[in-house]
Symmetry: C2
Subunit: 365 residues, 2 copies
Amino acid sequence: MDLTATTSELASAVADVARLLPGRVLDPVLAGVVLRAGPGGVELSGSDRERSLRLSRAATTHSEGAALVPAKPLAETLRALESPQVRLVVEGARLAVRTGAARFALPLLELGDHPGVPELPPVAGSAPAGAFASALAAVATAASRDDALPVFTGVRVHAAGDRLELITSDRYRLGFASVPWAGGELDALAPAVQLAEVAKQAARDERVELRADADRLALAWGGGSASTALLAAPFPDERARKLLAAEGECTVVLEADELAGAVRRAAPYSGANGAVQLAAEDGELRVRGSDPQAGESSESVKASVSGGLLTRSFQIRYLSDALRAFAGRRVELRVQSGLRSTVLTAEEDASGVRLTYLVVPLRTP
Amino acid sequence: MDLTATTSELASAVADVARLLPGRVLDPVLAGVVLRAGPGGVELSGSDRERSLRLSRAATTHSEGAALVPAKPLAETLRALESPQVRLVVEGARLAVRTGAARFALPLLELGDHPGVPELPPVAGSAPAGAFASALAAVATAASRDDALPVFTGVRVHAAGDRLELITSDRYRLGFASVPWAGGELDALAPAVQLAEVAKQAARDERVELRADADRLALAWGGGSASTALLAAPFPDERARKLLAAEGECTVVLEADELAGAVRRAAPYSGANGAVQLAAEDGELRVRGSDPQAGESSESVKASVSGGLLTRSFQIRYLSDALRAFAGRRVELRVQSGLRSTVLTAEEDASGVRLTYLVVPLRTP
């Protein structure tokens, strides 16, 4: 194998593969990136059996072939290069990375031991890639990072007519988004954070294809594809939909960024529990913090308020995550009675994303 | 006390005081910032008895007075504000921080319990502030961060005629700089990292005044002053000067940034010991790394080489620190025989800083 490529393009592709792969594996082969030089350019792929990624990049192939090398050292090496072009050559038991004045030699791993990237499952349909990526990024913040309860780390991807629905929940908040959908049936539960990560890659293209079978969900776009094993757990779907059918006793409409700023400024006063209070008042929403050491904060944000004037406390981190999903837009807060969750919604955005976000208020004395 | 000030100016001044103060103290009064509003503006000061800082900033004083509040929450609050102006008012037992829509109330600490900022010791002389700050930043990287051996965390500040010398060493490297000096005798050992931090502040002014007595070293400039207790330990001065009188068996002259880049690129190949090898060759310096897992690297940097062609290994972190001190300049490396240190020097820069940096090579098999 012998090829020349643009350093920055190759560096970012190898970094993307390296990021997908687990940091520490028993089998070093699974921490490797497969480079395959062909007449059309270079293909980079990685897989730890659970998840896989395959990217195509432009390259001048001097001699076809394939090689498997540790992904992280290769990514670090390429990232540090200043030379605009880089040459990758297999030399004996080494992959040589060459620029004008420098040569880096990485040990080859046994290509035959690599599991390879699984075949993509059949096409289910497609969605606008940018909308899909931004919707997924928004709802992924409501997914749990705790692998002990896998179902709450997942995003439910569900085709409903001409919309593709994305649902996440860690039990304290719930993200629900939908984007335009052209295709047939699809119902899968996949790791949310990881899918959001590869969706960003797909957003380089116009549309992203979703592919699925009983075991895997895959994204495919011009320039690459990624797949992940499904989470084998039943998502509490009906419960989620019931929560979404919320009726606000009090409705507050305001600029998401203004409220996010006020919440950020209340953070030093959010106390040991990280709590912030929102109080609907006439023509404004008041953001309050109180901490025995740091003192008190109070800030009002202009808002149009209708219904009863309710007050709720929230985990500041959850509220900030929710508001970030609506950045740059007007958001409607529907405050429900008692300890029922507060619903954040906005109008469908220009790219066709509809988003609803639920946050459970804190029990206050 | 009641004053209005520019938010960004006040925020950065309070942040500077907060940064100086220890994170956790038994006595909360020592984690406080004293605000004093007078006809000329506002004075901010902090002291933990060991070190102290006093800054003056422009402000409109509506009512004179003083207040003591926890420095970190005030710094966080001011940093998060978007409003260009901010008002600070004492209201009962609180300091209120007010902008148009927001009010933050911090509990007042007992001003009478604060030790105050000690009187500055007598003037020893002065130096150009920018040169002093950059020289100190360069040598501070060679000081130890380990408080167990205080003498190695210090910078020796020593007046020698019309030059002010700054010396640091953690035993594995040694930093020696001098800047123009107008003044009399001065010989003090002060915490290097902390002095470098306040010297950055002083660099807002043209010149910085150095003041000292048997216990303290202080910097004073238009807009503020800072003082620190001296380290009570004898610095191995003669030994350091002997080391500086080095004669290179091999001399290499090259661009510091080019070598720093090559060293950075060798980092993934620096192995468990973080070692990188420099080999003088004809017209170039070769930078090599080798690691059983990651592979090997080799890069040549154009250099003018004279004397014998020597090879030395270095701790990559120490070498990078040394080269950063010469950023943007040509540096001369004098490689000595055996395990004697390698000397890095450059010509006096435009601001009058002369700098020499020693790094001890690694013992290699």
